[in-house]
């Protein structure tokens, strides 16, 4: 009898929590996407804090336990979270292992950039499958949201349609924020995405409609960053290729000599020279890095230094992913919040 009571008490919390889908994500951006798509049907926990380098999260026993209790586990993949294998192995939860219904690789379907042609540690912290910082591109974030919705649909089939609809609605909001509502209404999301992914959007916007170029109807983040289009920027770490490509920025140099490797004095001098020649308007560093080197480069070049959050919740002004993107756009343009 006593044993039965203990078993019942042990299982009770699980029964109580059975009503909602427990989602565990690696990063806060994925957690945000899961909340947006899942609504009040889900409870979400991010394993990585928003000011933590997502490459180097310590797989503590608590994180193992969280994965063990999850219905859905979402990670970016692409070698960003080198620490999740240990969590999944120790979690004792076969449903959320890769191949299980509760596993989502959020980067599925994304054509990655910066796939190294030669894989060697001499190149620093390389990602064999390409750069994993996909959440910094709004177009790719829609794919992430769709992947999350499909994962939720698998583990909670009765609400599959609702998840897909919410992902679609989220995509519409992202489009409006990226292209501006007028252009979306005129051309439609599908076409804009196709142009954007194909890299032909900018040239296409020069076409005229009713005697005026389509560019005049561009709004959103693309319009705000349009003055910087073609300009060069210095970044600390190799996290920014998707953001830069989406908004037409050129990456002049990285503060790190190689990904994850502290720069030598010679490399820093080269960065200063390159940045000075390119007249970079801003040197950008994520707020989980030590900003001292980036600051000194910005001072030497006479550029602005922008210490920015890289993930949702990474600063007071980046409470959700839209706010994060807003803050990144502002950091580049120099506009006040």
């Amino acid at each position: 009898m006593k044993a039965a009571l203990i078993v019942l008490l042990t299982l009770l919390p699980a029964l109580v929590h059975a009503a909602e889908v427990r989602v565990v994500t690696t990063t806060t951006d994925l957690a945000w996407a899961a909340r947006e798509v899942g609504g009040d049907r889900v409870s979400v926990r991010s394993l990585c804090s928003p000011t933590e380098d997502p490459h180097y999260v310590t797989p503590t026993p608590s994180l193992v336990a969280a994965v063990g209790d999850a219905d859905l586990f979402v990670e970016i993949g692409l070698g960003l979270e080198i620490w999740t294998g240990r969590l999944l192995d120790g979690a004792g939860n076969p449903d959320v292992r890769p191949g299980g219904p509760g596993y989502v690789r959020a980067s599925d379907g994304i054509a990655t950039k910066e796939r190294p042609s030669t894989l060697s540690r001499a190149g620093g912290d390389l990602h064999p499958e390409g750069n994993p910082h996909v959440w910094l591109d709004p177009v790719l974030m829609k794919i992430v949201a769709t992947n999350v919705a499909e994962g939720l649909a698998r583990v909670d089939p009765p609400h599959a349609d609702a998840y897909r609809q919410r992902a679609k609605a989220l995509g519409d909001r992202i489009d409006a924020a990226l292209y501006g509502e007028e252009l979306v209404a005129l051309l439609g999301s599908a076409l804009l995405d196709r142009l954007a992914r194909g890299g032909t959007l900018d040239a296409y916007l020069d076409k005229e409609l009713g005697g005026a170029p389509l560019r005049a109807r561009l709004g959103g983040w693309l319009a705000r960053l349009a003055p910087l289009r073609g300009r060069s920027v210095v970044y600390h770490h190799q996290s920014w290729v998707y953001f830069a490509d989406r908004f037409g920025l050129s990456i002049a140099a990285y503060v790190e000599s190689k990904p994850g490797v502290q720069p030598s004095a010679g490399h820093v001098a080269r960065v200063v020279e390159i940045a000075g020649t390119a007249k970079v308007p801003v040197v950008v560093v994520s707020n989980y890095y030590d900003a001292r080197l980036a600051r000194s480069i910005a001072e030497d070049v006479g550029s602005r230094l922008a210490v920015v959050p890289l993930m949702t919740g990474g600063s007071e002004g980046a409470g959700d992913w839209f706010a994060l993107m807003d803050s990144l756009v502002r950091a580049h343009t120099g506009d006040a919040p």
Partner: protein, 451 residues
């Protein structure tokens, strides 16, 4: 309806509307310019009434203009579609040798000098090379094999130390030197340090391990020698577990207690074949060695945690001879990691205590405390103190204290300088240097490296 068909439809409508408009104008013109020969109707518009007919024509024109604009827009869209072919989703990324085990090599170079002239001969050599192979076996299990290759020279020197501490120091030099020479002549010692299968897809939060593992007794013993914050394991640990720590073959089952807060509370039981060498003292084990462990942990912030555990292992001889041991231990770890890199410094405090009872023999008590701090991104400083009373009936403690400074160029290469004071039948001062390199597949968890 596709954009192409819609454009065609709109174009047709525009064409029709234009034709209609022109036809209407053509039909209307005679009534305006050439009065019909037919008797004008009463409703025939007069010049004064013409403005009243204008709105229908304007609406029609606007409709045509709107349709033309839509046609223009559709043409633009069509051009966009033709200019931008659909990009097929990329194929799943896969390396050519994806089914091969992930291979990691570890090179551990160690040098040491004892300024008091006891025990340690000046040296700098490769202490060990380790090869770590791991891969999923199938959806339900994964395998790990760790092969160690130990330097016979350093091994022999340790062996010589044992002789020097022996009963007859006068004869020790000759015997020890002979054995050292013999062992040096041997090839590198290859040791299977781990070879196990983990069943990772069991229900009910169970995890089953079979094979040779680093025994889950305390925290430090799970780490290989090149992974710990000092050059060697603490003296109390090596005295009870062995120079290389305690690895054993057996069956281990872990259960994580389900709880609403997802707090990690783990129970582990195991049955092993050998037991720690210093406690077994070379005896075979016709009966299995038992293991039990409980561990609880809680996070407070990213990467910061407090963890505590208790462990027990025991063995009794199946024969009537009163032989066996009980080994009990407690361990804790406090780890603080900076929330923002560059603002704070990571810190850890770790300790373990052991009590060993050898049946019909002596009882031992020992333990260690270590703390570390990260003053800069790639620099770690560690302090450690350990003590052991080998026989509680005749308490004469041996103890040691050490300091280590480690510089990481990356998480793959570490240079370490260390000093140890050892009080074991006299005081000795040891200075050591260590270079550890990791190459190949990425290590599962960088140890103490806070990037």
């Amino acid at each position: 309806m596709s954009i192409r068909s819609r454009a065609a439809l709109v174009a047709a409508v525009v064409a029709f509307a234009g034709t209609t408009a022109r036809a209407s104008e053509t039909e209307e013109k005679p009534s305006e310019e050439e009065p019909s020969e037919e008797e004008p109707s009463e409703e025939e518009p007069t010049e004064e009434e013409e403005p009243s007919e204008a709105p229908p024509r304007t609406e029609q024109d606007e409709a045509v203009r709107a349709l033309q604009q839509e046609l223009e827009l559709l043409r633009l869209r069509l051009e966009a579609l033709e200019a931008t072919p659909v990009t097929p989703p990329p194929p799943p990324a896969a390396a050519p040798n994806v089914f091969n085990p992930r291979i990691t090599g570890f090179i551990d170079l160690v040098g040491a000098v004892d300024v008091s002239g006891r025990n340690v001969t000046p040296s700098f050599d490769v202490r060990a090379f380790e090869l770590d192979l791991r891969a999923d076996i199938d959806p339900f299990a994964k395998a790990v094999v760790v092969l160690g290759f130990e330097n016979p020279l350093l091994h022999a020197l340790e062996h010589a130390d044992e002789h020097e501490d022996g009963v007859d120091p006068d004869d020790a030099d000759g015997d020890a030197q002979a054995e050292v020479a013999e062992e040096i002549a041997e090839a590198w010692l290859s040791v299977v340090e781990e070879a196990n299968i983990s069943f990772v897809a069991l229900p009910a939060h169970l995890l089953l391990e079979l094979g040779l593992v680093r025994v889950d007794f305390g925290g430090q013993n799970r780490s290989h020698l090149h992974d710990v914050p000092h050059i060697d394991y603490p003296g109390a640990m090596t005295a009870l577990f062995g120079e290389e720590g305690w690895a054993d073959a057996g069956v281990f089952l872990r259960y994580r207690l389900h709880n609403p807060k997802s707090l990690p509370i783990d129970f582990k039981v195991g049955v092993m074949s050998r037991g720690p060498e210093p406690l077994m003292e070379g005896r075979e084990t016709p009966t299995p060695v038992l293991l039990g462990r409980f561990r609880g942990s809680a996070d407070f912030g990213a990467g910061s945690l407090v963890s505590a555990g208790v462990s027990y292992s025991g063995w009794r001889d199946a024969t009537d001879e009163p032989r066996g041991f009980d080994l009990a231990g407690g361990d804790f770890l406090l780890k603080l990691r900076p929330a923002i890199r560059g603002r704070d410094h990571s810190f850890y405090l770790q300790g373990e205590a052991y009590f060993a009872r050898r049946v019909a023999d002596r009882d031992s008590l020992g333990g260690f405390v270590g703390l570390g701090v990260q003053p800069a991104r790639n620099v770690f400083l560690s302090l450690r103190a350990d003590a052991l009373i080998d026989d509680l009936a005749d308490p004469e403690p041996t103890w040691g204290a050490g300091f280590a400074a480690s510089l990481h160029t990356t998480e793959f290469l570490r240079v370490r300088l260390a000093y140890d004071l050892v009080a074991d039948h006299g005081i000795s001062h040891r200075f050591g240097a260590q270079v550890t390199a990791v190459f190949g597949s990425h290590p599962v968890e960088p140890y103490w490296v806070n990037r």
